[in-house]
């Protein structure tokens, strides 16, 4: 970290002399839309009084945003108080009508997720991965040193500038361990309401029990929320992000998010960087272009993905890993020439997306600006964040039927172990409920999800029976695995069916609500009662 400080002028010292960005809409000229979500639009803009400096402005519709104003403020404050060259910091924010404008640095190349989608569906070259991950780690080091946990590390939250420099974005779910009250005092109205203090006094102050993050990147102990969060959860997500950059998508992403969570809870996921070398015959994947990754890379990733949080290296230690030692400044040039120059500009990506998003549902929408497919509950939940400006990180819902079945084996994952199954049941239910609560349409979805849950429990019991019936014979592991995979597929199919149902139900409901709303509006305009002035 010390080495990093000098290069781009230690941010601390220049903090006070920073240009003052004006706090009124009139000072900015909107150039073009570069992204949009359910309740926010991101523009590329010029700040006229500052020599038309280019900025990104995220305009959040506070009327449509699900977040309450306190949450929005908490995040704005977190962003205002972070200062590191690899962390995205807002220049300023102010209100324009019922919108909040957050003025941010313009990151010309967009998010890594968007870069993957627009030119590197099978992943980035290893040397590029190394430089962007090194910068991401520097950001993480800084955050962790501050006692701040990011909780949503993923390619979609890593923004790249035209020179290849990287900033970590989106602190919508981040939490500070310093903002919890010490265990003696209970009523603390500080900015931590969204992260209830740990229930058990035994938990250390760096534990959080609420659900946050995005399923695929979530570390097992975040899912097992009884363990609480630690900064090591970010390290897990960092490892998953490394795999995402290597393969173009996070592991298990062919499963729906809730499914991926279930898998990680009920199974011990063994992840390896080189997918084709994983357990059961990778021969079928030969068709796919085989990628070779260095041993250092594999070693780095697997250290992050250690099941036990305590065994994962800290961000600081990880930064000293041989994988990052090899980074040279010319790697940035390589990144610029071979990756950034190979993808369309963010403006072009946005234009594309309008068409892309018009295509059949279920197709992988790849742009950072997925058009208001407001039926997608996850998207709604995500979009209240103000710091990132990549909106469609959730569009990962790959359609499993699109893929040949071998793909599943290609996914670096499984074998099941039943050793920690018994105490999972409860938490898994709890998690699912919380997860369901998160997606904003819980009232409609709940009964259905309960049905799903019931079904999943039944299925799980079946799996358990198989596991118990085995009695510890080592020989037929492969056969058992196949059976389990079979069950998993069944389970998956069932979940798929049910979620389709839920979606249909939600669409119906949305339609009804629209009708209601329309009617309410009509009535409302009718009843323009002039307040008692007469």
């Amino acid at each position: 970290m010390a080495a990093a400080a000098g290069s781009v002028g230690g941010d601390d010292h220049h903090h006070h002399q920073q240009a003052r960005y004006p706090l009124d809409a009139g000072s900015y000229r909107l150039l073009c839309k570069i992204g949009s979500g359910v309740s926010a639009v991101v523009y590329k803009a010029a700040c006229v009084p500052l020599g038309s400096a280019v900025v990104a402005i995220k305009a959040i519709d506070l009327e449509r945003s699900r977040a309450n104003l306190d949450e929005v403020w908490r995040e704005a404050k977190a962003m205002a108080l972070l200062s590191h060259r690899n962390v995205l910091r807002a220049h300023c924010s102010f209100t324009v009508g019922s919108h909040l404008w957050v003025v941010m640095p313009f990151m010309a190349a967009g998010s890594l997720h968007s870069i993957l989608s627009h030119g590197f569906p099978d992943g980035l070259p290893e040397q590029c991965i190394a430089v962007v991950l090194r910068d991401t780690l520097r950001a993480l080091c800084y955050l962790h040193e501050q006692g701040r946990i990011h909780r949503d590390i993923k390619a979609g939250n890593i923004l790249v500038d035209s020179d290849g420099s990287v900033k970590l974005a989106d602190f919508g779910v981040s939490a500070s361990i310093y903002e919890t009250a010490p265990s003696t005092s209970s009523a603390f109205s500080g900015p931590i309401n969204h992260a209830p203090p740990p229930s058990g006094a035994a938990l250390s102050s760096s534990c959080f029990n609420d659900m946050a993050g995005t399923p695929y990147w979530m570390a097992p102990e975040v899912i097992h929320s009884h363990v609480g969060y630690g900064i090591k959860a970010d390290i897990w997500s960092f490892g998953i992000t490394a795999l995402e950059l290597a393969h173009g998508r996070p592991p298990l992403s062919h499963l729906p998010p809730s499914k991926s969570m279930l898998m990680r809870i009920t199974s011990r996921v063994r992840l390896e960087v080189d997918a084709s070398s994983s357990s059961s015959e990778g021969s079928s994947s030969a068709a796919r272009k085989k990628k070779k990754f260095s041993k250092a890379f594999k070693d780095m990733v697997s250290s992050c993905l250690c099941q036990e949080p305590a065994k994962r290296p800290s961000a600081e230690k990880l930064l000293r890993h041989p994988f990052f030692k090899g980074c040279r400044s010319r790697d940035y040039d390589y990144l610029v020439r071979n990756v950034l120059d190979a993808v369309p500009t963010v403006e072009e990506r946005c234009r594309d997306s309008t068409q892309l998003c018009g295509c059949a549902r279920g197709a992988r929408c790849v742009s950072p600006c997925r058009h208001a497919s407001s039926g997608s509950n996850v998207v709604a939940a995500k979009n209240r964040r103000i710091s990132g400006w990549n909106f469609n990180e959730e569009s990962f819902e790959l359609d499993p039927t699109d893929k040949p079945p071998e793909q599943q084996q290609q996914q670096p994952c499984f074998p099941f172990h039943h050793d920690n199954d018994d105490d999972m049941v409860e938490h898994e239910q709890e998690q699912r409920r919380r997860q369901d609560g998160n997606d904003g349409s819980s009232d409609v979805a709940v009964p259905h999800l309960v049905t799903i849950l019931g079904s999943l429990e039944m299925q799980r019991d079946m799996v358990m029976q198989v596991l118990e019936g085995d009695g510890g014979g080592g020989g037929e592991t492969a056969g058992r695995e196949e059976m389990l995979v079979g069950y998993v597929r069944e389970l998956e199919k069932r979940v798929q069916e049910l979620s389709t149902e839920v979606e249909e139900e939600m669409a119906r409901n949305a339609h009804l609500q629209e009708l209601l709303h329309e009617r309410a509006c009509e009535n409302h305009t009718d009843s323009s009662h002039t307040s008692g002035s007469r």
């Binding site: 108080l81 300023c92 102010f94 209100t95 909040l100 310093y178 009617r519 309410a520 307040s531 002035s533």
Partner: protein, 336 residues
């Protein structure tokens, strides 16, 4: 930052003393910014010390805080004017050290020495520090740090009372409307904290200062052109009036025709969120069993319009309480 916690064993009191000496140096040599090598060196040392104070109070990655160490630190800290020096010198510190200092000050507000909150006693004897903290809202660079410290200080009832009774309360109506969203929201969080934390003190303040306070509240906040100001104010008004400890104030508020008119205008606001929050206050006017004639008159005059409005007034989420309240309001108005 490596090796920071492994330095030679200094007692917590040593760290406080050194911090104080460095602050005094910084306070005296405040003229030139930067350039001065010696000053830079002292600054770096100060930053290190403040970070160490923080890690003693909060623990670090490996260890939980030790009570005895915290007691020693707190005692030494308040034995002399360390808090004053730290607050005064804050603008001279770099961002990271400001954050550490803020967290240290926050933590100290809860530390007890022989079951007494030392910080509270100190602040009572040094109330002018509160004036300094509040004026921080006028300086963008330090507003968020002073704001956080201030909210921690008003955890002490006597300190909250001091701020409530001071002229500063009037300034909050300006601070809440500052164009900078972070700072305006911070001021509004402090304002809310002042008016909710110590129930009895708040009730007393509101009844003594009813006239000017609600006149400011109505004209400046509820009638503000700033969407966030208006939305936060109406929500807060509802919370405040519905608090049982403020029932006298509530009765007084809902007996005024002028207040009713403001609320009826808010019911027609273009923002659904504001409408809903306004409803939660409006219902109190309707539910009042002893409505003054002027209130009844307005409700009767607008009865048909109100009833038509409520018939179409829905919220997105299903909410039994809301529906029941609405039902009740409709009944009350129809029966007039």
């Amino acid at each position: 930052m490596k090796g920071l916690f492994k330095s030679k064993p200094r007692t917590p009191a040593d760290v406080v003393r050194q911090t104080r000496e460095l602050l005094i140096f910084l306070d005296l040599h405040s003229g030139s910014r930067g350039g001065d090598a010696k000053r830079e060196e002292k600054m770096a040392e100060l930053s290190k010390n403040i970070r160490e104070l923080k890690s003693i109070l909060y623990g670090n990655g490996e260890s939980e805080p030790v009570t005895e160490a915290c007691v020693q630190l707190t005692q030494e800290f308040f034995r002399e004017n360390t808090l004053r020096l730290l607050i005064i010198c804050l603008p001279k510190l770099n961002l990271e050290t400001r954050k550490d200092a803020t967290q240290v000050v926050a933590n100290l507000q809860r530390q007890q020495v022989s079951s007494k909150i030392v910080a509270s006693e100190y602040l009572e004897a040094n109330k002018d520090l509160l004036d300094t903290l509040i004026s921080g809202y006028e300086n963008m660079d330090i507003a968020l740090h002073y704001g956080s410290m201030l909210r921690e200080c008003i955890r002490h009832q006597s300190i909250a009372r001091y701020v409530l009774e001071s002229d500063h309360m009037k300034k909050f109506f300006d601070y809440i409307q500052l164009p900078n969203f972070d700072i305006a929201s911070d001021a509004s969080a402090t304002f809310k904290e002042l008016l909710t934390r110590h129930k009895a003190t708040v009730a007393e303040f509101l009844s003594k200062n009813y006239d000017w306070f609600f006149s400011e509240f109505n004209t400046r906040l509820l009638s503000s052109t700033n969407y966030i100001t208006k939305r936060q104010a109406i929500k807060f008004l509802g919370d405040m009036l519905l608090d049982r400890s403020n029932s006298t104030v509530m009765m007084r508020y809902v007996s005024s025709k002028d207040n009713l008119m403001i609320l009826m205008n808010l019911l027609r606001d273009s923002s659904k969120n504001i409408q809903i929050e306004a409803f939660h206050v409006f219902k109190l006017f309707a539910a009042n069993k002893n409505k003054p004639t002027e209130v009844v008159n307005i409700l009767v005059t607008n009865r048909s319009k109100l009833l038509r409005f409520f018939a179409g007034f829905k919220i997105d989420k299903e909410d039994e309480q809301f529906e029941a309240d609405k039902e009740q309001v409709i009944k009350e108005i129809s029966a007039l």
